[in-house]
């Protein structure tokens, strides 16, 4: 059962004091179940950060339930160019976020439930959490065949992945979060999680693609609402606390002081793209023009999301070498970013000689270079 959050005061107290509060009513004892009213990935990730940084979880584990509008979420040490189709996402208005926990890339939409289990570092136990989820699923549908693998995925009928796991461990606290596929748009999922970029060499954590299925396809009673309810009930039973979820608004600065800044930090370019471990791109592109095809080779070294080294090669007769070198050196220091490249290339186009053929070749080259970003 959901109750609106009228217990702001108790929450404030929980935050202000780093010691457990004895004698506080129902919510404080034994644990808390929170549900977000926001569908904004950055705000919800900020709630996770806030709880992890500010709340004392000693004897008081917290379950946080949340869902997001269409977003691709990559793990802390992943490379977005390797993991998803950024061009397609830009077109469709699908957001990109980098979370603070490890693991692989997932697609979120309103048909996907996110569960976060907050505990102290000593009580951190991912398998225990997953078993709780399985019990909750079986409570709704006893014949459902769901198993946890040793990779901490949940498999339906032994072959379809319905949940992936990731976690973050800090100095005294830890959290384990996982997804649960109820009724996600599978077509969007598979198209957006396929990277069109070639030639990337990096040590970033790779994702392991899996066959997926929605729980709703299995049984049309397994909606997001039903499942969230069941998981909350199971969590409450396990920790012997009140099963009412508390609705929280991640934009409430009085309830979560400092959360706005956390959400902003998660949206900066420096966090989303700049935290990509260093990588290089080495690929060739076809320059198709007036029935003739030339091959262009491009090599880029990217560190902290910025281009450290760049080399562009095209057949000598196609464009003068000085122009290619000028382009290469202009990129150095810039972000490996589509819109920044557009601006830079436009500025260079302004200074290009007005010979029509040269200008159109230059334009084509610039367009091609942008496709790798």
């Amino acid at each position: 059962m959901l109750i609106p959050f009228s217990m702001k005061n108790c929450f404030q107290l929980l935050y202000n004091l780093k010691v457990p509060i004895a004698g506080l009513k129902n919510a404080a004892k034994g644990g808390l179940i929170l549900q977000s009213t926001s569908n904004n990935i950055y705000q919800n990730l900020a709630v996770e950060d806030w709880i992890h940084d500010h709340m004392n979880l000693e004897g008081k584990p917290i379950l946080f339930l949340w869902r997001n509008s269409p977003t691709v979420v990559i793990g802390r040490h992943q490379n977005p160019w390797q993991e998803c189709n950024l061009n397609l996402m830009r077109e469709k208005g699908i957001k990109l976020a980098r979370r603070r926990s490890g693991g692989g890339t997932v697609y979120h939409d309103m048909g996907n439930i996110n569960l976060t289990f907050f505990t102290t570092k000593t009580k951190y136990n991912r398998m225990e959490n997953l078993k709780l989820v399985i019990r909750a699923l079986n409570a709704v549908q006893p014949q459902l065949d769901v198993q946890a693998t040793d990779r901490l995925d949940l498999l339906l009928e032994g072959q379809f992945k319905i949940s992936g796991t990731a976690s973050k461990i800090g100095r005294t606290a830890a959290y384990h979060h996982c997804t649960l596929l109820c009724s996600t748009d599978r077509i969007a999922l598979s198209s957006v999680l396929k990277s069109p970029y070639h030639g990337i060499k990096s040590n970033a954590t790779p994702s392991v693609p899996s066959l997926v299925k929605n729980l709703l396809e299995n049984n049309n009673t397994l909606t997001c609402e039903v499942l969230m309810e069941s998981i909350a009930t199971e969590f409450a039973a396990y920790h012997q606390i009140d099963s009412n979820s508390i609705l929280i608004s991640p934009s409430d600065e009085t309830m979560f002081p400092g959360i706005k800044r956390k959400a902003e930090e998660l949206q900066t370019w420096e966090w989303i793209y700049g935290k990509t471990p260093k990588f290089s791109v080495n690929t060739s592109l076809n320059l198709l023009r007036e029935q003739s095809c030339s091959e262009m080779k491009i090599y880029v070294d990217v560190k902290n999301g910025r281009i450290e080294d760049c080399n562009i090669d095209a057949p000598g007769h196609w464009l003068p070498k000085e122009m290619l070198d000028k382009l290469s050196t202009s990129f150095i220091g810039n972000k490996f970013c589509h819109s920044e490249a557009t601006m830079l290339l436009n500025a260079l186009l302004r200074t290009c000689p007005k010979d029509h053929e040269l200008y159109s070749k230059w334009h084509l080259l610039c367009e091609k270079v942008k496709t790798i970003m």
Binding site: G102, T122, S167, P277, T342, L344, T351, K354
Partner: protein, 464 residues
């Protein structure tokens, strides 16, 4: 608190040095921590080992270092991020000190229980002394310590600040954890001390007459608090959008600019727009003044096509562009972008408004494509939306002219009868390439543009 006594009686070093600033509710599993100390008096190098992560994990991959050798860290500062089996772990420092060695590079595997970094913690001879005392007292540190009986906790940066301001750390009240002295505590102490330091006001010596009037309240002399300024210059390379501007403007200034300014009476246009705004809104479009400015400019360019032209590098050939692709300077979070509305000569005012809405939306979400920002032939900059009256805009090559529009202000003017009326006035500042455009051409174009805007009904005559 965990206290580890080091009984190295042969050395001058510290009988009561507390190495582990245990955190009262923090329990860790390892009962023993091996501390290797050097025999030098400079400070001790402590090997900080990678502690147990849980779940039986024995090794992790180092993914990112937050510190480098030589950096100063405080207790609880983040040192690095490691990853193990989908868990991302933040390792924090247990000590205050200076990082002396990193045992792993990024992407290497680190072992639990083995050294992760070496931290040099502060030498006690610096940490507890009253810094105003002469060096001779250094050797008495032993006795001094015992007399005082307590240790002052502060990071090297804070100690330096105290030293620079001749402050005794023992007299400062620490408000940080465990009574630690923070930078703010030093600054507060300084603020309080100025009253005692400043000499008494000379006024009290040379103005005895004041003492006669007992009823006059002495005015408190304002005291200037010495401000501890720790700001530093910062140099960084120019990249990204700024670099773009550098490149564009370097080329632009090769063009000999001349300026021409005028004021435009927009009283009638303001009224007209008020009437048309709801109609546009009903069609889902926000109507600003810009569509009118653009259309009027295009009508003007029909009569003065040289302003919509382009010259080659050596100024040998001039190309009269057929399309009026009028650019509008847009100020976005990243900086200046100039998308353009294509073929304004073919568009109605409403169509221009639609296109401007689209470009503004793309501009604010940083999604303007190449097609949107290339091919411009003439530019208008509405700097007035931020403020200002006159400007000296810079032409964007390969164009040859640009106009900057100031803010619309209500000011008094005289009408034909000589009466004072309220008029809505906007100033326009044009810049043009003086190699091919002369002042007269610019003036006539400006007059034509102005006449369309001062009397919007005249634009009806040009409707196709």
């Amino acid at each position: 608190m965990h206290l580890i006594q080091m009984c190295s009686s042969a050395h001058v070093v510290k009988p009561k040095y507390t190495c582990l600033f245990g955190y009262s509710s923090f329990k860790f599993n390892h009962p023993h921590r091996l501390l290797r100390t050097t025999s030098s008096v400079n400070g001790q190098i402590i090997q900080f080992k990678l502690s147990d992560i849980g779940e039986g994990i024995t090794e992790v991959t180092v993914k990112e270092w937050y510190v480098k050798e030589g950096d100063t860290v405080s207790q609880f500062d983040s040192i690095c991020e490691v990853q193990s089996d989908k868990a991302s772990v933040t390792i924090t420092s247990r000590y205050d000190g200076i990082i002396r060695k990193l045992y792993y590079a990024v992407d290497q595997i680190a072992l639990v229980g083995k050294p992760l970094v070496d931290i040099e913690t502060e030498a006690l001879k610096d940490s507890e002394e009253d810094v105003v005392e002469t060096p001779a007292v250094f050797h008495d540190e032993h006795t001094h310590q015992e007399i005082k009986g307590h240790k002052t906790l502060a990071t090297p940066a804070v100690r330096r600040l105290a030293m620079e301001n001749n402050i005794k750390l023992s007299e400062v009240v620490g408000t940080g954890k465990d009574g630690r002295i923070l930078k703010e505590d030093i600054l507060n102490y300084l603020a309080k001390q100025t009253g005692a330091i400043l000499p008494p006001s000379p006024k009290s010596e040379i103005m005895p007459p004041l003492q006669k009037t007992e009823t006059v309240q002495p005015v408190p002399v304002p005291v200037l608090k010495p401000k501890a300024f720790t700001g530093k210059d910062r140099t960084e390379p120019i990249t990204g959008f700024e670099k773009t501007m550098v490149k564009t403007m370097t080329v632009a200034l090769k063009i000999p600019h001349f300026g021409y300014c005028d004021e435009v009476d927009l009283t009638q246009l303001v009224k007209l727009r008020e009437e048309l705004k709801p109609i546009a809104l009903a069609r889902g479009i926000k109507l600003s003044f810009m569509p009118f400015f653009l259309k009027a400019a295009s009508l003007g360019l029909m009569q003065f096509p040289i302003l919509n032209a382009s010259v080659d590098e050596n100024c040998q050939n001039i190309t009269y562009k057929a399309s009026h692709n009028i650019g509008i300077a847009m100020d976005t979070k990243q900086g200046l972008i100039v998308p353009n509305v294509k073929n304004v000569q073919l568009c109605s005012v409403f169509e221009i408004a639609i296109e401007l809405n689209r470009l503004q939306k793309l501009g604010s979400t940083n999604q303007l494509g190449t097609a949107d920002i290339t091919g411009g032939t003439f530019t208008l900059s509405n700097i007035g939306s931020i403020g200002g009256t006159y400007a000296k805009p810079v032409i964007l090559p390969p164009e040859v002219a640009i106009g900057a529009l100031g803010a619309i202000k209500a000011v008094p003017r005289f009408n034909e009868k000589g009466e004072v009326i309220k008029a809505q006035i906007m100033n326009v500042s044009w810049s043009a390439d003086h190699r091919i455009i002369d002042g007269a051409t610019m003036a006539r174009f400006s007059n034509l543009w102005k006449s369309y805007l001062e009397n919007p009904a005249s634009m009806l005559l040009e409707l196709k």
